[in-house]
């Protein structure tokens, strides 16, 4: 593998409690190569979102990252960034899309103004430049640019989620963190969104950290997958190996919890 874009080393995160602390992430290490899609799967509460927040430096107390943990992005330790460097780091280096991101659009702003906000703050673009970039980004996610004058409520949930993705990518981040980005949507919309992101990462070369509880979906999309259990990364491998030759008993157990559509294969 080439020099990794992201390198998570011995990441340990506790939630500080009044009586005792809770170890949510326990000595987790993994790398993501440039242009690679890496998946994190595992049961509810195993620590996936806690890791996603830490990488984006969006974690807040009571979450505490323990000494000895390192998160290197393009060689720089994310955990050492000062507030000014951090403002730049978010969006330009790492962008994050959540399950409920489609509800994070500002309901009283037109789509073009939401692009303008981000592009002015981080790139100092003029309104005209921002509009041009917005059109380009919307086209990438299959939304007609002439709809940028609409408000969020005029779009379906799937379209709003694609708009959030377009805004996230407007600053060419190196890493896109996606935490259950399509869970509330139907499978057609889910497929459209992820297929598009897959094409875009090939075109632009960004990496993706993809979090879902759906192992089948994860194998379709990811290059490599890590399986988490109670804060620990218990197995990581190529997607095909996680599917065809899972090593850890827990990975096998996860696979056994999905009923299959056909028993056979889909045409």
């Amino acid at each position: 593998m080439s020099e990794p874009l992201l390198s998570v080393k011995n990441l340990t995160i506790d939630y500080i409690g009044e009586e005792k602390d809770f170890r949510a992430v326990d000595d987790v290490s993994f790398d993501i190569a440039p242009g690679e899609v890496f998946g994190l799967a595992g049961e509810s509460g195993c620590g996936k979102s806690t890791i996603a927040f830490a990488i984006s430096r969006l974690h807040k107390p009571p979450a505490l990252i323990r000494k000895g943990s390192r998160i290197l992005l393009a060689g720089r330790d994310v955990l050492d960034l000062d507030p000014k460097a951090l403002a730049d780091f978010r969006w330009r280096e790492v962008a994050m899309v959540f399950q409920s991101a489609m509800n994070s659009l500002n309901p009283v702003l037109r789509i073009e103004d939401q692009f303008y906000d981000v592009l002015r703050t981080h790139k100092g673009m003029t309104r005209a430049q921002a509009r041009e970039r917005a059109a380009e980004m919307l086209r990438l996610v299959d939304i007609p640019p002439d709809r940028m004058s609409n408000y969020p409520h005029q779009f379906s949930g799937g379209m709003r989620q694609r708009i959030v993705i377009a805004i996230c990518m407007a600053l060419n981040p190196k890493l896109v963190v996606m935490d259950e980005p399509t869970t509330a949507l139907d499978v057609v919309v889910q497929r459209e969104i992820l297929q598009r992101i897959n094409e875009l990462r090939k075109e632009f070369g960004f990496s993706v950290l993809f979090i879902t509880h759906d192992l089948g979906l994860m194998v379709q999309f990811c290059d490599r997958i890590g399986i988490m259990l109670a804060g620990k990364l218990v197995e990581q491998n190529e997607a095909a190996a996680i599917y065809k030759a899972p090593q850890h008993d827990y990975t096998k157990k996860l696979w056994a919890s999905f009923p299959s559509l056909h028993g056979g294969v889909l045409s």
Binding site: E43, S44, D142, S156, G157, G158, T183, A184, L185, D186, V187, V188, V189, Q190, R191, E192, L194, Q195, N198, K202, H213, D214, L215, G216, L217, V219, Q220, F221, Y243, K253, L254, S257, F258, P259, S260, L261, H262, V265, L266
Partner: protein, 299 residues
């Protein structure tokens, strides 16, 4: 097939008016039968929850009617409506929000017993609470005195099922009952619904985005798009031989680890998807019967 317990007969529901009218349900017809499950799947926003709410009488249909054992519910006598309310119970998606954090599990189960079961009184009530918990495979000694936050998501959803069963319903409406549960406990809850259906001869309306689980619990399936049921029939038949373009699209998009997104042969083309959406959104009265019991709207 046995006689229908609950029927939606050409039911329509619109929200708003004028240019902003939303046709949430268009001429929806289906029946629920004892000991059988009907799965309702389809696009997000296609009207599945709206159908569930009409079945629960939370929404009044704009046109069309709801029948209970062949008789319209609207305009029925008060005691018949009470019987209907008891007969049709709902299990919600969110096992966290639907239980009151201030009350024990036993309290949650006593309430519907007092409300719907005048036949049991006194010490029989607590005995029935125990029976209900055992039915959903929870240990009564352990679980009855607990508060909701002391239970896992899977356990809470079992409590919700027990609560629905307390009224001795004939029909259960379950709107995405496992989507907020861990994958490892989903199958357990689905098995439980399956057992209830068979052992207690319940009719089940099962709403889901997870079509593989629809096959797992439901004998029949209906696929919705934009307020219409576009295809319906025996679940295996519809999944193995889909006719309507939207059903085919939906099935082709079901997550399948054998299909990689970077394989150009299986790529969904956005133009094709748009064409299918446009065609499927038009109201269409004409229906074809492909095989006995398997229907699809024509395009």
């Amino acid at each position: 097939m046995s006689d229908a317990i609950l029927t939606l007969d050409a039911v329509t529901k619109t929200f708003g008016h004028g240019a902003s009218t939303v046709h949430a349900a268009r001429a929806i017809s289906f029946s629920l039968h004892a000991g059988r499950a009907l799965a309702l799947v389809g696009e997000s926003g296609s009207g599945k929850t709206t159908c569930a709410r009409m079945a629960m009488r939370e929404y009044q249909p704009t046109t069309g009617q709801i029948l209970y054992k062949g008789r319209p519910v609207e305009g029925a006598k008060a005691d018949e409506i009470a019987r209907y309310r008891r007969s049709v119970q709902m299990i919600f998606q969110d096992p966290f929000a639907s239980l009151n954090p201030a009350h024990t599990i036993a309290h949650h189960l006593r309430r519907p017993l007092k409300l719907h079961r005048p036949d049991i009184r006194g010490s029989q009530i607590d005995a029935t609470v125990r029976e209900l918990l055992e039915r959903v495979k929870l240990d009564p000694d352990l679980v009855a005195p607990k508060y909701p936050h002391e239970l896992s998501g899977g356990q809470r959803q079992r409590v919700n099922i027990a609560r629905a069963l307390a009224a001795q319903p004939e029909v259960i409406v379950a709107d995405e009952p496992t989507s907020m549960l861990d994958v490892s406990v989903r199958l357990g809850v689905l098995n439980l619904l399956n057992d209830m259906k068979k052992e207690m001869n319940l009719g089940l309306l099962y709403i889901t985005h997870d079509i593989a689980t629809a096959r797992y619990v439901a004998e029949d399936i209906a696929v919705m798009y934009s307020g219409q049921i576009v295809e319906w029939g025996p679940t295996g038949e519809v999944i193995d031989n889909p006719i309507h373009p939207y059903t085919r699209l939906l099935l082709s998009a079901v997550p399948d680890p054998d299909v990689r997104f970077d394989d150009p042969r299986t790529r969904l083309r956005p133009e094709d998807v748009d064409d299918i959406r446009k065609a499927a959104a038009a109201p269409q009265e004409k229906v074809v019967e492909a095989l006995p019991g398997h229907f699809a709207r024509s395009l």
